[in-house]
Chain length 377, copies 2
């Protein structure tokens, strides 16, 4: 067929349409989150990436090279949930979404056909493909697509666990939190999950921080936090004695609280914040699904920010784009040195079940990075 | 009399005792704040300063030079209220107070007798004298006492309004808040009060920020905020439409919120925070008198810290001690240039009425720096 100018031979039927999950309506409190999406079918034609990043390659000089991929692994990220809130137009990020957009997601696809010499049939390629079953990507805008070939012999789920997740942990802890070996106590929320598990391992195994405390939501997660992430202490926030346990676990107070969840751990960390302590505001996952009108920080906790000269700083990973290569190299070095290990939970599902991945993610019962692997039979 | 080795001649009777207000008990919610203090009388002998700062001059080489002062003007500061809360021992600052301590305060006294050539009878001297009617200060520990002579022809209340108050405004806005002319909107709470009035004037008259919004608690204060502090907009937080007015006043959102009060203005500022916005956490005056268990920041406001990459940073002026001379010089230059004007309210009272100054301060009905001037007749 003549989909590409310089087509590689293929024996498979080349799809001309693809199924896609679109954001049908912004989440409503009265409906389950999975009802926010709708499965559609669209002609397969070159399109812009799904992350709503404006192309930086408009007016490219070279003739377009294209690759056709079938997506097989999908990354499930709390940021996806945050991104589909109905934000007013002038509060939009580039990566907030509008109704009707293909749901944004990082995915790994297998190359089915390619007119670009660097991408061959069978290669696994990561990109901002969104919830699309097939993708026809223009390699001249590979930056927009965030295309990256998976190294040979690499487990795709491991690769995902060490992607944006690891970069978020890296920049959040080291740049925003300015963590060093001199910090005595670092508390990490959702420490069994994707970002938290990497933060915990960097704090303990790379920086050698004296007291690394990870917070989980079950005894199973607490075991993972201690045994796989090397935390000194694991606290279950569902414990009836959580407040007392938190206090007892922080005799030297909290130098850094890495916040992914918001909620009680945030409040307690501010109450126990050390002088010059820092709160890395990375996420508030347990609030993304609410109206957000609940009050979460008390006046007592807040005044500690003043008295303890503390700093609370929010960030998203996009502001560190220029430093991604450096960070990736460092993170992979630590993996090779055995200092950090990717943690993941792989959920096998059909393409038409994709939104259930978000439901699972928000439940928070998994360990490490939650990856959806598409059943192809 | 032979109080000093090299005494200047005097016709007045030299006191041998002084009255002092001590912190009798930490404030209790069930009692008025003025009941936390007790008037005592103690022998007048060389003592350490009241700010609980450990002496940096122990074992001084020179023989002690002493000055005897009668305190005539007292500074009323929100920090005094914060300082007398019952903080657990390992959360203490050097300037938190213990029961039985002379109440800490900056004051201006008149020299009655002196054995130091630089301090003469009749000189006005500012220092960390506390709520003490007479003070016998060792000039060899002048740094601990924070002694500073008032320049001739200077109004003592004006001098107080440009002291620690102005330095707090200076470092809070420019160093912690990192305010520049590029900021479009700066919101200042308690903008008619001591620190806020200086912050407002620096923002508008020095930096030339496009939209400076001051918050007050009465129409009278709002007039002061606009007319004397040059704010573009003054908002009365007691207005029934405060939330809507705040929103309408911030069409380009809030680059910097200078927080002295906590409360609704803090919550609203976080809701309206601009990308890379900053909250300077300088005080929470309206909460100092409460148990602090009330919830003040909503989840919705908090998530804006993440999405807008905002920063909340607490500070106290003590961390900038090394830069006080530079800041004083700059602030006084702006005063001479007519860019900032000290605002003050002088309350004339007897020494035995001193604690009422704190009651007045917490009511917040005054304008500018609240100074207590002692009636000497």
């Amino acid at each position: 067929m003549a989909l590409f100018e310089k087509s590689t031979p293929t024996n498979e039927p080349i799809p001309t349409v693809t199924r896609q999950w679109i954001l049908y309506q912004y989440p409503q409190r009265s409906h389950p989150i999975s009802g926010s999406f709708k499965l559609t079918q669209r002609p397969l034609c070159p399109s812009t990436p799904t992350a709503n990043t404006p192309s930086t390659r408009q007016g490219a000089h070279k003739p377009a090279n294209k690759i056709l991929l079938r997506t097989l692994w999908f990354s499930n990220d709390p940021a996806q949930r945050a991104r589909i809130n109905n934000a007013s137009t002038d509060r939009l990020y580039t990566d907030f979404m509008r109704e009707g957009d293909v749901m944004s997601a990082t995915a790994i696809g297998e190359v089915i056909e390619s007119s670009h010499p660097e991408y061959r049939k069978g290669d696994l390629v990561r990109g901002a493909f969104g919830w699309s079953e097939y993708v026809l990507a223009d390699t001249d805008s590979s930056h927009d697509w965030q295309l990256m070939k998976i190294p040979p012999k690499t487990n795709p789920a491991d690769f995902m666990a060490m992607g944006g997740t690891a970069l978020t942990a890296y920049f959040g802890l080291l740049s925003v939190g300015a963590a060093t070996s001199a910090d005595k106590t670092i508390v990490v929320s959702a420490a069994a999950a994707a970002v938290g598990s990497i933060v915990t391992q960097i704090a303990k195994n790379v920086l050698g921080v004296k007291r690394v405390i990870g917070i989980g939501s079950s005894e199973e997660q607490c075991n993972v936090i201690k045994e796989k992430c090397s935390a000194d202490i694991a606290l279950n926030y569902k414990s009836p004695n959580f407040r007392r346990e938190f206090e007892e676990a922080t005799p030297e107070y909290v130098d850094i609280y890495f916040d992914i969840t918001g909620g009680e751990a945030l409040e307690l960390s501010l109450r126990r914040i050390a002088r010059n302590g820092r709160v890395v505001a990375c996420g508030a996952i347990f609030r993304y699904d609410s109206s957000g009108e609940e009050m979460i920080v008390s006046a007592k906790a807040w005044t500690n920010i003043i008295f303890m000269k503390a700093r609370v700083e929010g960030f998203t990973i996009s502001e560190f784009k220029h430093r991604f290569p450096e960070a990736r190299e460092q993170v992979f070095r630590w993996v090779r040195q055995g200092k950090i290990h990717p943690l993941k939970t792989v959920w096998r599902a059909k393409f038409e079940e994709l939104p259930q991945g978000m439901v699972k993610l928000l439940k928070g019962e998994h360990v490490g990075k939650l990856v959806t692997e598409i059943i192809t039979e």
